[in-house]
């Protein structure tokens, strides 16, 4: 209990409050800019947080994550261009509201429901993480092997566009993950005598390349043109008490959907937002408004994708298994600041952990106020020209990858993976699946080999524990999830084009 209070007091330190304000604003900006994703924002921010005290750094990371997920809704509502893919469902009704002169209502709904989703998922983080962290000890080598298999089966689910391309992406990630020392014997593999590859390809530099530099190349390739200008708002960014009451049940439902979706590895904000939107429609008393500008539709999508933020951190922190590409990147930043996944999270590292949790709550509050009072200005920035955006992101990518260890090697890694990422996007492969496989590959390999060492070659221990069986069953279910996702997709009638090269 005292650790929870300590974390709260720590997060309310004025330097941390300023960090929360800045990072949320930066996150909203990144989210609002079409083409810049939450993953990219976090990847670029991590090197900046190295020099900060741990608590400030953790809060800044939380701020960018939450801010970016929310920020996507602003350009979705005002420009009909989702800033991030998870805001695609928001655009369905959000832009209709803008056309009818109710852009302020739409922004207000998005802001308030994002806040509700975010803050309630933070509570889930507080309540569900401690028991799950205790459970982490019961995960032995066999269980980690099955966990990685389960995670890999989800790749089929996240890439519902083309399962084949999703699987190819997964294989690419697994192949890259074999670079570096053998996890059991320490024999170097595919390092070609380069010592900086002994521990595998430098992770953060690789991600900055995959997510940021590749986007620079994509944006630079398409013809530079002025983007749609956001109109001035005709109404205020605020909801009446009656309207808040109207969206509240939708928000609560979507929060549950978002938190649960977040906890499952692989499924992220985009899926949660569509699910939240569909359920809002199903339970609504005003079904006819959906697609014509329903605040319930906006709330259903936004509460869900922001609830994913807290939910997705639960497996990331407790088991060290990130659920999506943003938390995968975030995990790297958290480890550097002294957070450890597993049982120590709430014992010897409890103070750091609870500071991060409290920071998560704080940034959600800031997100509410920044969104309500300044949301419309972010829309103006969202229409900034690519000719200005490209050099900024380019410079940040170079500086960010250099500053991790102050070495040029990482910058070259970043460039190489920028080019790889460019082709990944051109060929319609899935970068999230690559990152997931990169993380899960070594976990699965060492789990398999450790189990066999301990059993002296017998495969029986893979099928002895309850946890193993649960994971096996979940893997089988998830193999069939693409069929489920297809059903879900039927509800996406007037889906606006998602992010990239707008």
């Amino acid at each position: 209990m005292s650790d929870i209070l300590y974390g709260l007091m720590n997060a309310l330190n004025w330097i941390n409050l300023i960090a929360a304000l800045f990072s949320v604003s930066a996150g909203i900006l990144v989210g609002a800019l079409p083409g810049l994703s939450a993953a990219m924002g976090v990847a670029l921010l991590i090197p900046v947080t190295f020099g900060m005290p741990a608590d400030t750094a953790l809060i800044s990371l939380a701020g960018v994550y939450c801010g970016a997920v929310y920020g996507g809704s602003i350009s979705a509502i005002l420009l009909h261009t989702p800033g991030t893919s998870s805001a695609a469902a928001t655009a369905l009704d959000g832009y209709q509201l803008t056309l009818r002169g109710k852009a302020g209502k739409a922004l207000g709904t998005a802001t308030i429901s994002s806040f509700i989703g975010g803050i309630l998922s933070t509570i889930a983080l507080y309540l569900l993480s401690p028991p799950l962290a205790k459970l982490a000890l019961s995960f032995g080598p066999a269980e980690y092997f099955w966990l990685s298999i389960f995670g890999l089966t989800i790749i089929a689910g996240v890439s519902s566009k083309s399962i084949l391309k999703g699987l190819i992406s997964g294989v690419v990630g697994l192949a890259i993950s074999t670079i570096g020392m053998d996890p059991i014997t320490g024999v170097p593999r595919f390092t070609f005598g380069v010592r900086y590859l002994l521990d595998g390809v430098p992770f953060t530099a690789m991600l900055i390349g995959l997510f940021s530099m590749s986007q620079v190349l994509i944006m630079a390739e398409s013809k530079m043109k002025d983007k749609a200008k956001a109109k001035d708002l005709e109404d205020k960014v605020m909801l009446s008490w009656g309207e808040i009451k109207r969206i509240l049940p939708t928000c609560l439902r979507s929060t549950v959907i978002g938190t649960v979706t977040g906890i499952l590895p692989g499924a992220g904000g985009t899926i949660a937002a569509y699910m939240g939107y569909n359920e809002a429609k199903r339970f609504s008393k005003h079904k006819e408004e959906f697609g014509q500008g329903s605040i319930e539709g906006v709330a259903g999508a936004e509460a869900a994708n922001n609830a994913v933020t807290g939910g997705s951190l639960i497996p990331t922190l407790t088991l060290g298994i990130p659920g999506n590409s943003v938390t995968a990147i975030l995990l790297g930043g958290l480890i550097i600041q002294g957070m450890r996944s597993g049982p120590e999270l709430f014992t010897s590292h409890a103070r750091v952990t609870y500071t991060f949790f409290a920071g998560f709550a704080v940034v959600n509050v800031f997100m509410l106020f920044v969104g309500l009072f300044a949301g419309k200005y972010f829309a103006k920035v969202a229409s900034v020209k690519d000719s200005i955006l490209i050099p900024i992101v380019f410079a940040l990518s170079v500086i960010g990858s250099f500053s991790i260890y102050n070495r040029m090697f990482d910058v070259w890694v970043m460039f190489i993976f920028g080019i790889i990422g460019y082709f990944v996007k051109k060929l319609d492969l899935n970068p999230a699946a690559i990152v997931l496989a990169l993380i899960l590959g070594p976990i699965g390999e060492s789990g398999l080999r450790r189990t066999l060492i301990l059993s002296r070659g017998s495969y029986a221990p893979f099928f002895t524990s309850t946890v193993s069986w649960v994971l096996i069953i979940m893997s089988i279910v998830s193999l069939f999830s693409p069929i489920l996702m297809e059903k879900l997709a039927e509800g996406r009638a007037s889906k606006p084009k998602a992010e990239t090269n707008k």
Partner: protein
């Protein structure tokens, strides 16, 4: 608006360039005259070959933050982690020997890595400054386990050869050597399961996925006091101050001494004068009351050694490993 952005970018680029030039002025420091006069005239980089927040890093940060108070320049910790310490050790060994890059090494790891694989550094690439920490090894089981004493454990292992498992912090890493040496001297057969680092090695023991573990006392003191783990024996000459009821392996008839030391070293051609300045600085810091109190809070067993003593210690470690490794099949 545009001008402002161009300006910001220009400034950022300059920073990047400054970084590059620092990098390129790195190796081949042989012919250069190193200026000893006026040392230190800029911040000193202290390489830690393990990640921030780990045991080595915490110890290094406590010591440098105390030492910095009597040094005219900042001591900047650089965490260059990876490959069991090899990446950071290599960067340290190959750094310009001008006194502006020093670092922490872990023993026996620093000595054993070049024996196990083709590392890009050799032990002679560095010269010692001072030893900081000596962390004795312990053999442990879960508190709830059926083995109350070392004799119970050995008896069970002899009755069921090849069934008891011991987790370690990596194949060939320090705890693996400690466990295998005990296995050899006791005449038993164990399964050695390599895990990724100390935390995971201990998690495997605490979750009951292995039967025992060899660790350093500072890593497990809290868990033992919390009643989760039990120490069967220590790898020390005398009993541990903190746990006087725990027997040593020596008094049980097994002649094994094992522990991990963390020492400050510099690249081998660093001038004597600079080594002397640094040695005095860190000796005073280590022996200061503030440092001793903070080390105690962090469970760090301190043992100062001067350069000569540390040099002998490293040589003895090498002799020990050369003697023991073939016996235990590592």
């Amino acid at each position: 608006m545009k001008k402002g952005i161009v300006l910001i970018l220009a400034v950022l680029m300059v920073f990047a360039l400054v970084g590059c030039t620092q990098e390129s002025s790195d190796p081949t420091g042989e012919s250069k005259e190193v200026s000893v006069e006026g040392y230190p005239s800029k911040p000193v980089n202290v390489i830690v070959a393990y990640r921030a927040g780990g045991g080595t890093d915490v110890g290094a940060r406590i010591l440098t933050s105390v030492a910095e108070k009597n040094f005219s320049q900042p001591l900047v910790i650089q965490n260059i982690e990876g490959a069991g310490g090899e990446i950071g050790f290599t960067d340290l060994a190959k750094a310009t020997p001008d006194g502006y890059t020093i670092g922490f090494i872990n023993l026996p790891t620093f000595v054993s890595l070049p024996m196990d694989r083709n590392t890009q550094y050799v032990v002679e690439d560095v010269r010692p400054i001072a030893n900081h920490v000596f962390d004795p090894g312990v053999l442990m089981v879960q508190e709830s386990s059926e083995w109350e004493t070392l004799e119970d454990f050995i008896a069970h292992a002899k009755a069921n050869p090849g069934t008891l498992s011991v987790s370690n912090n990596g194949a060939g890493a320090s705890n693996h050597i400690g466990a295998a040496h005990f296995e050899y001297e006791a005449g038993i057969e164990l399964i050695h399961a390599p895990f990724d680092g100390t935390t995971n090695m201990l998690a495997a023991l605490r979750g009951g996925h292995v039967d025992a573990s060899v660790a350093k006392i500072s890593e497990v003191a809290d868990l033992v006091e919390a009643g989760e783990l039990r120490i069967l024996a220590s790898y020390t000459e005398e009993r541990l101050d903190q746990f006087p009821e725990v027997p040593t392996l020596q008094e049980k008839g097994f002649d094994i001494l094992f522990g991990s030391a963390r020492a400050l070293v510099a690249p081998k051609d660093t001038p004597d004068e600079i080594i002397e300045i640094l040695h005095d600085l860190f000796k005073n810091a280590i022996e200061s009351e503030e440092h001793m109190n903070r080390a105690k809070d962090a469970n760090l067993p301190i043992r100062y050694m001067g350069p000569e003593e540390l040099q002998r210690y490293m040589e003895n470690e090498a002799i020990y490993l050369q003697e023991v490794k073939p016996k235990i099949g590592l």
